[in-house]
């Protein structure tokens, strides 16, 4: 029973982090939130007795994907409001 409650709690946390990453205007915080989603997901995989998948999720989801997104933010713009229309986006990417 405690097992199910723990998994349910982690799932609720995951949904909360997902909603935060959509609502947040600062893209760096949003990317960190997606990293948190992957971290919780890997904990859930471990609880569901899939250590292989948990290892992959921890290495790829938490480290590699987050870092690639952060590099992208460094090369473009950090705040979502910084570009209002398409031309701003184009000039930011080049």
């Amino acid at each position: 029973m405690t097992y199910i409650i723990l998994i349910f709690f982690l799932l609720v946390l995951m949904v909360g982090a997902a909603i935060y990453s959509i609502v947040q205007k600062d893209l760096l915080y949003a990317v960190i939130a997606t990293g948190v989603i992957s971290l919780i997901l890997s904990a859930i995989f471990l609880l569901l007795q899939a250590p292989d998948v948990a290892l992959t999720e921890a290495a790829i989801g938490v480290a590699l994907t987050t870092i690639i997104f952060i590099i992208t933010i460094r090369n473009t713009v950090r705040h979502e409001d910084d570009f209002k229309d398409r031309n701003d986006l184009k000039s930011a990417i080049k």
Partner: protein, 231 residues
Amino acid sequence: MKKLIVILLLAVTGYFMVISFMDLGKDGPVVKNGVKDFYLDKTVSELKVANTITSIVVNFRGFDTLGEVTVLFLAATALGGILYKKRHHVGERSVLFPSSTIVKAGSKLLFPAIILLGVYVFVHGHLSPGGGFQGGTIIATGFLLMLLAYDNFSVSHKVLSYIESFAGIFFVLFGLSGMFMGKTFLENFMPVGNLNDLFSGGIIPIIYILVGFKVAAELTGLIYTVLNEKE
């Protein structure tokens, strides 16, 4: 008009998909016992491998793993192809501010430990959870740490592509030699040894070590390409 056509196409595709799935459960369940019992039985009794997932991924479904490795290779190649033009006229990486001494010393201390963990994970793929893909990504995160901490740390694309190519070629060669010595592609033709030994499982650990090298080289090259790209 365009949207209407797209919606119509999607509706037709969806209709046929639903129709084809409707017939699935008509005469009893399609999978009665499945291959689950076969895998669980054969893994321990014949292949002498402790980790059932590894034996499925590398031995029973080895051809799928070859396809998976190819997909990763194509993704890395495509990324390199897209960023190739920009990499040409870029020398040093641009950094906003250099990392502090604590970060540099700490990452120098952690780097060998991370590499050792990655190697452990893919060498023991047939004994404990993990394997080539997991170990390879762990090694790539080690290189990522060094690339973030030191702005003059660089990896050689030539060495990486040699490692990657040789790992891929040896994977296919092992599969083909199974074809010559045994019956099928990726047949387990080597002696399997005892359960829970490091040298057991025939070609399974060898192939997972090759996959580990390949994935580590691919992901390291990918990160290095993305990090060196600047506007």
